[in-house]
């Protein structure tokens, strides 16, 4: 329809430039239009009385528009556009042959639909004006020889991955050796790399190569449940509860209850029933035990439901590296109190946490417990960063802020900020506002605002979970979510608490506390601070969870164990290795990043960093990592995982003869899974690719327009054409409409 009225495809107008070819000055055109308008206006005033003011204005506007249009046509308007010169340019056509293209959405596989479109329409049309190079792509683009039959037949949807970006990069690299005018991509858009990288898009834009896309497959399946993503921790302490945030997308199963499960080696580790919501996407949290030390591979997902069109996308694999390390937490307490005793007891049997404590028993005496030897903390709370940074976590109890020197307060802040440790503040008569922390620099790192008022109360109060607390592993004392909520409702009251202010931006309140008839205030809040974490537990009365429940009840110890595990699990060592994706789905590329710091956790620039990678076949490779010039203390390297299976990367860092530290990282390559996910058409990705590169998106049904529009390109060998637009059918139609409209109105008003 557009071309019928405007003579040319839309791309000509969107990419071309409007020009006037007559050579006469534009000011003259404007002057004539103004004179004509003025003359018509004078004429209308002369005939005043025949028509009303409004009707006269309408007639004047119609006549002025008509004269303006005709004058414009006299100036010879045209569109100047770059167009590919016939038979001198190459158009690359890429056909996706990944496994998802084998899905038969309407009885016929997507790939066969693509072949039919190419053979019956696209290739004959394009071949008339361009040289066509045909490629099939999955992981990479491979050229198909068309010289024999000139037809595409017998492509197999057998590639385990789709990498549109890599394939485009490959084709773009050939642009230097041939006049590549445009790229046409036939795909379902199911890219497995999470999108097309900016570098590729920039390269195509610089070369001015438009990418036209033709999308195959439905936007979504009629009946399907898919795991979109699972966010779970990469590391955990032994026998820790960890939580996985599972993003689920479903169509056709709203209102149905399904089982969300975590399995390891096909054995169920955790399960919970969830209700599929009417919205297509929802997020659920499942909590499970990470198990004993070692690399654990958990399969997380929803059990398949009868009638699902694709049951292969119901679960994903996530790795959790469970460390055997015992994390050391320093607990500084300013006065003997029951909370101290019961925290110590709660952690006594924890295999992953070692609690080292300093207690001020009298004005001039401290009592140390849990120290490695008689000399540890002999002089009291550490005064040097190096001494404090040996610990992974820090608890500050009922200790006045003034007890710490300025230097000590600075290293406490640096402990979280620079060292990446966890700091937990407890309430008490010498803590928080009561302890003078409001004016201390430590107030800045706390997740709650200190009111400055002395609100320490020794009255009984009830604890309740917030929405965030219901989902948090810190507060999970029962395996099942609803049982956990019910359990907390029966928890004995705490005997004291501090009324604190509102949470700061970024802080998460997990528990509230309230006396009968009072407004709830935050009791447990956490936040990230610098590289570390900070929490406030605004009571010293949780010991009653132990004394007021049966002696076999483990609620109290479980809560403290989980709270302190949260405090230290993410605390890094001086050497910390990472990779963006621990599970490589049909991928081989492993970028490695290692952060290296010294005892003070200052970045180290001149270190020798080596990673030894143990392969699944028993062999090993060693690679040396290079310093990242943009990030001090960061070392990077790349590894190719040739075979599927689990790899363990052990990194060591040295500076001169000093051993700076070690770290281990696990990753896993899985083949044949990527194409199971995102199997519906990713239309957003294809549309964005086209619009970012100056191309257009087509469906198979309107792809016939493509051969006309593909010629409009600034890449390859082009010629700038001036396309006349004075003879567009729309112009004549407008003339008739304006003149005819005026005549009809006049007839109606009786002044013809």
């Amino acid at each position: 329809m557009f071309e019928l009225l405007f003579k040319y495809p839309l791309a000509v107008f969107s990419k071309g430039k409007f020009v006037l070819l007559s050579g006469w000055p534009v000011w003259l055109l404007i002057l004539l239009i103004v004179l004509a308008a003025g003359g018509l206006f004078w004429n209308m005033r002369q005939r005043h009385g025949i028509l009303s003011k409004t009707r006269s204005t309408i007639v004047w506007l119609a006549q002025t528009a008509l004269i303006a249009l005709l004058l414009l046509m006299l100036w010879h308007p045209a569109i100047s556009v770059a167009r590919l010169r016939p038979q001198e340019n190459v158009v690359a056509v890429l056909v996706d042959h990944s496994r998802s293209m084998g899905i038969a959405d309407d009885g016929k596989p997507r790939l066969q639909n693509a072949e039919d479109l190419l053979d019956n329409q696209l290739l004959p049309d394009l071949s008339k004006r361009f040289q066509v190079r045909l490629y099939e792509f999955g992981r990479d683009a491979v050229r198909i020889d068309l010289s024999n039959t000139g037809q595409v037949r017998g492509l197999a949807a057998d590639d385990n991955a789709t990498r549109i970006g890599d394939s485009l990069k490959h084709i773009a690299s050939e642009a230097g050796t041939m006049p590549l005018g445009a790229i046409v991509v036939l795909s379902d858009g199911g890219d497995n790399t999470g999108g097309i990288d900016r570098e590729t898009i920039e390269q195509l834009r610089q070369l001015r190569i438009p990418v036209h896309t033709i999308g195959f497959g439905p936007d979504h399946f009629a009946k399907d449940i898919e795991i979109v993503d699972v966010d779970s921790p990469a590391r955990a302490l032994a026998q820790s509860r960890v939580s996985a945030r599972v993003a689920i997308r479903q169509h056709g199963f709203a209102g149905q209850k399904v089982k969300l499960m975590v399995r390891e080696n096909d054995h169920p580790v955790a399960e919970q029933e969830i209700l599929l919501k009417p919205d297509a996407e929802q997020s659920e949290t499942i909590v499970f035990n990470a198990g004993p030390p070692g690399a654990h591979s958990f399969q997380i997902g929803v059990t398949p439901v009868a009638g699902e069109e694709n049951a292969q996308n119901n679960s994903v694999v996530r790795l959790v590296n469970v460390t055997p390390k015992k994390m050391r937490i320093l607990y500084m307490e300013g006065e003997p109190r029951w909370e101290y005793k019961f925290i110590r007891r709660a952690l006594e049997d924890d295999p992953s946490i070692e609690l080292v404590t300093i207690l001020r028993t009298t004005q001039n005496k401290i009592y140390r417990q849990g120290t490695a030897d008689a000399h540890e903390l002999e002089a009291g709370f550490p005064t040097k960063a190096e001494e404090l940074f040996k610990y992974d976590g820090l608890i500050i109890g009922s200790v006045e802020a003034s007890y710490f020197s300025n230097e000590q307060q600075a290293i406490i802040r640096d402990f979280a900020d620079r060292r990446g440790g966890g700091v937990l503040f407890l309430a008490g008569r010498f803590a928080l506002s009561e302890g003078g922390y409001t004016k201390s620099p430590l107030a800045e790192m706390m997740p709650l605002r200190l009111t400055g008022e002395k609100n320490w109360s020794r009255d009984f109060a009830t604890v309740s979970l917030t929405d965030a607390g219901r989902e948090s592993v810190i507060c999970r004392i029962e395996e099942e979510r609803d049982q956990n909520i019910a359990r907390w409702q029966k928890m004995p009251q705490v005997a004291n608490y501090d009324v604190l202010g509102a949470p700061k931006p970024g802080a998460v309140v997990l528990m509230n506390v309230a006396e009968a008839g009072h407004r709830p205030t935050p009791l447990l809040a956490t936040q990230n601070y610098g590289h570390g974490r900070v929490g406030i537990f605004a009571t010293a009365g949780s010991w009653r969870w132990k004394m007021l429940q049966d002696h076999t009840d483990r609620t109290h110890s479980m809560f403290w164990s989980q709270l302190l595990r949260w405090l230290v699990t993410e605390t890094p060592g001086p050497v910390l290795s990472s990779t963006p994706h621990q599970v490589l789905s049909d991928d081989t590329h492993v970028p490695l990043r290692v952060s290296v710091r010294d005892k003070d956790f200052q970045t180290v620039s001149g270190a020798t960093v080596q990673t030894t990678i143990s392969r699944p076949d028993g062999g090993s490779d060693t690679i040396e990592l290079r310093p990242d010039p943009l990030e001090p203390g960061m070392y990077t390297g790349e590894y190719t995982a040739d075979k599927p299976g689990t790899y363990v990367a052990e990194t060591s860092a040295r500076q001169d003869k000093t051993d700076l530290g070690r770290d281990a990282l696990t990753f896993r390559r899985e083949d044949g899974v990527a194409e199971n996910f995102g199997a519906a058409q990713n239309r957003d990705l294809l549309e964005k690719l086209s619009s970012d590169t100056g191309g257009s998106y087509y469906t198979p049904s309107n792809a016939r327009k493509l051969s006309g529009e593909v010629a409009v390109s600034e890449a390859g060998i082009t010629a700038h054409d001036n396309l006349d637009i004075w003879d567009m059918p729309i112009v004549f139609l407008l003339v008739i409409l304006i003149r005819g409209g005026e005549w009809l109105l006049r007839r109606k008003w009786g002044v013809v």
Binding site: G334, E335, P336, R337, W338, Y340, K341, F342, R344, R345, E348, L359, R360, T361, T362, Q363, K365, Y367, Q369, R429, R458, D459, F460, Q493, A495, E515, A516, G517, W543, R544, K546, M547, L548, Q549, D550, H551
Partner: protein, 268 residues
């Protein structure tokens, strides 16, 4: 109307449950005081810790001190005088008045007080329910200090009830190296702390209890649950700390021992 009644009922329930939730406050036992003193001004203050005295039944062994039983021996002067020392010598937040834990009439209150003192336990006579309750209390993390019982007969009476609390645990002698003797003060060198009677009799011991013992029952993790000051009378040393005739060295040890036991119970 129904709505108003329902609201009233809910409010009453809330109020009642709130009352139940409160920890017991200070209460005088006027008729049972052994050595009365004035009630301190801060008697009702809410603090982290205070001297919790166990009010237990003497039952068959009530003949010694009459109907009131032996639980209030030295009470309340010993308690309040010792509290002055705890307040002055440590950073423990305490009030100046004791708290009586009534095992007879309000047994569950004991769970709010993880440190409890029982005197003259050579004359206690616990019921099965009280034994069960004390066992549960100690297993949850409570601490019991017993004092002022002497000689073979009183030891036997004490263990008659104690062995019903913990039939599966033995009573052992505390070694000098145990942390309980080192939490605040190092108490490797200890002497027999006599009762007031020694001022008149000249004897440090009572009955046939010539040798002082510091004994204990441990839990499964090696922590002292029950600490026994046998053949000695720390209660009298606290009570008569202001008596010029009572030697300071005994008072000093009793205060230090008591403080060590309290701090131990708050750290282990």
């Amino acid at each position: 109307m129904r709505f108003r009644i329902a609201i009233l009922a809910v409010l009453l329930c809330c109020g009642f449950s709130a009352l139940l939730a409160f920890q017991a406050r200070f209460k005088e036992y006027t008729g049972e005081e052994d050595n009365p003193t004035a009630v301190p001004g801060d008697a009702f203050e809410q603090t982290e810790w205070t001297f919790a005295r166990l009010r237990y039944p003497s039952g068959r062994y009530a003949g010694y001190s009459g109907e009131r039983g032996s639980w209030p021996t030295d009470f309340p002067k010993a308690d309040r005088q010792f509290l002055q020392g705890v307040r002055r010598l440590t950073r423990i937040h305490t009030r100046s008045s004791e708290q009586v834990i009534d095992l007879i009439n309000d047994p569950d209150e004991i769970f709010n007080w993880p440190w409890v003192y029982a005197v003259e336990v050579g004359h206690w006579d616990l019921t099965d329910a009280q034994c069960k309750l004390l066992r549960e209390y100690l297993l949850r993390g409570g601490f019991l200090m017993v004092d002022d019982f002497h000689g073979t007969f009183e030891w036997d009476v004490f263990t008659q009830s104690m062995s019903r609390i913990f039939p599966d645990r033995t009573i052992v002698e505390l070694p000098n190296a145990d942390p309980i003797f080192h939490t605040v003060y190092d108490l490797d060198q200890r002497v027999q702390v006599p009762g007031l009677q020694y001022l008149y009799s000249g004897r440090l011991y009572e009955k046939d209890g010539t040798i002082p013992h510091w004994r204990a029952i441990y839990d499964d993790d090696g922590r002292v649950m029950v600490a026994m000051c046998f053949n000695q009378d720390d209660g009298d040393a606290w009570e008569h700390a202001d008596n010029p005739q009572y030697e300071a060295k005994y008072t000093s040890q009793a205060y230090r021992l008591g403080i060590n036991y309290i701090v131990y119970s708050m750290t282990h």
